[in-house]
Symmetry: C2
Subunit: 367 residues, 2 copies
């Protein structure tokens, strides 16, 4: 392979693509960026086996060919050559990066070992306002499971019915769901997309326009400004959210978001070294008494609230309630409870598009 | 103790003082902030045994007394009470923090166990332009040793003779020194001040004014806006820099800083996982050939330079040369060498107030 291109183009492409490189893998080629010289362009692609990102740039091609270079070394190196023109020239053993009067050689791996990336994904699709898609991802993906014990929980479920879309994530301790409207879709579908993929998509997309997501045979494709992201989807049964979100509640509380947030955050400080970072809500007439207790000390703060229904005392992981409150965006929030061992719900007071469900923690007092 | 104060005052003081708290110590009281109520003020202080920071704030004192509270928990908690008025009330077992309708209790340790902080330090002093002091600290402290094998190398040496001051740091592999003028001093002195202390002072001071540093009995004191920092100094013999900085050189090179920096940074990328991150300068007529070599690949870049004297090939740790080049501030730099096993020097081309000396690395080729 031999090609000539602008450093700024190569740097821009490589910095986008390198995000799909694997870290800490036993398959070195997944830590590589594959560069293919074809016709009048360089096709630059990386994949960790789950997600792939590809970008093509204009180049003068003197000799077609394919080569794999160490992804992070190559991207960090090319980033420092934005201002110059670059010739890439490779054989089986190394790739020469030639610029100004200088010459760098980088080890290569055979492009034959690089996974084949299927970008022929177009059977089904749906499109949303870009701002909505960003909002949907940010509202849910933080509630995905982080560990591998149930892989499907590392993804967000997208359910499309007619013009309606809902996105749901859960990790066994809490659930986030948001619903809204599509611009269009080719039909109803249910997919579970890895949170990592969604977070990369969220960073790629921007502006007032729309984003179209293509789906075919367990894979997804998004294209933004000539950058093409594909990812596998998760197979398997996702929890039916309607089965676990209660419809009726014995206690409802309307509360000022900023006052609630400040109190929870203070109460969380004293328990931040504890395993469950436990805080307690004691809800009675016109207030939530928020408390926490550890060997460092104890907090007890009343927060004014409009309360309806039975008094309740309930314990929870402070991290989950803080993240739910932060993800809601109205001045007033509504919390809905049934009992100290049943999941409870946090929502905006008015706009109910988002819902956060949190499993309480059983304590000695309420077990 | 019982006192009443503004949250904003307490928060401001606690956030300044907490920086002196110890982390990971076997002496829990050194992780505490000590609060003393006297007359019409609260005296707030922390120390890790080496450095201490103290700030007094106005308060209504109902009962005098002293108490120690867990430093980081207390500061993070008080930071979230900037907008309210706070009553602090303590007995032997706990301190109550009372605000709005809320009440928090925090565990306390006896103030009797807290080290006595001597702020009666005024025998000797010197004063500098604040901007100069910041510059002197930033130019040298990064070259101090990080480990405890020779504690005195964890400090910067200040040598004051008449109106002249020089500050020197070294870690066994490199040396940084800067010289300049004082505004005034009470006499000649030589002290070695911990880098950690200097970095805290650097963050405290600001503006166009002057800063006075007081010295007495192996301790140092700086006061800025009612915040008083004291620190112990290091005892022992510091290396005499004049004994190790060569005066004559066989090779001198004048080079464009930005071109040199860019080349070194690229060469460093390929060796960043290697122990010594070795890069090589091969200096011959009118250029420095910069190269590096690792299992990832190899770089070879010529950088144009005005060369004088013998050709030389010399290997060095890329981190040290990058940090020295970054700490110099003219467009042109001068590098001066004697042999591939003797220390070499980096300076600005014109202003010679700063000097960086670096020990080369012996390699198979030049051992």
């Amino acid at each position: 392979m031999k090609a000539f291109c602008e450093g700024i183009d190569l740097s821009d492409a490589v910095l986008k693509v390198v995000k799909a490189c694997a870290t800490k893998t036993v398959t070195p080629v997944l830590e590589c960026i594959k560069i293919s010289a074809r016709n009048d362009k360089l096709i630059i692609v990386a994949t960790d086996g789950e997600i792939s990102i590809q970008k093509n740039i204009k180049a003068e091609i003197y000799e077609e060919g394919d080569v794999c270079v160490p992804g992070r070394y190559f991207s960090d190196f090319i980033k420092k050559l934005e201002g110059v023109q670059i010739t890439l020239s490779s054989d089986d053993k190394k790739m020469d990066i030639i610029y100004a009067d200088s010459q760098t050689a980088m080890q290569v791996l055979s492009a034959n070992d690089f996974p084949k990336i299927d970008t022929d994904i177009n059977e089904n699709s749906f499109s949303m306002k870009t701002a909505d898609l960003k909002k949907f991802i940010n509202a849910t993906s933080f509630c995905c499971a982080g560990d591998d014990s149930r892989p499907i929980l590392k993804g967000c479920q997208f359910v499309i019915k007619g013009k309606e879309i809902s996105v749901t994530a859960l990790d066994g301790f809490r659930l986030a769901t948001i619903k809204g409207e599509l611009i269009s879709s080719t039909g109803d579908m249910e997919i579970v997309c890895p949170a990592r993929t969604l977070n990369e998509i969220e960073k790629m997309i921007d502006g007032d326009g729309t984003t179209e997501i293509f789906v075919q045979k367990g894979r997804i494709l998004v294209e933004v400004d000539d950058t093409v992201l594909t990812s596998r989807l998760y197979n398997g049964d996702f929890i039916k959210k309607d089965n676990i979100i209660p419809k009726d509640f014995t206690t409802r509380v309307k509360v000022d978001k900023s006052a609630l947030k400040a109190s929870i955050e203070r109460a969380a400080i004293l328990v931040r070294s504890d395993k469950n970072s436990l805080i307690i809500f004691d809800i009675s007439s016109d207030k939530i008494e928020i408390s926490s207790n550890s060997e460092i000390g104890s907090v007890q703060e009343p927060v004014k609230a409009e309360t309806n229904g039975k008094d309740i005392k309930i314990a929870m992981n402070s991290k989950f309630i803080i993240e739910a409150v932060n993800a809601l965006d109205e001045d007033k929030l509504v919390l809905s409870f049934n009992s100290q061992i049943q999941p409870f719900i946090c929502e905006n007071a008015e706009n109910k598009e988002r819902l956060y469900l949190i499993l309480p923690v059983r304590t000695m007092n309420n077990a």
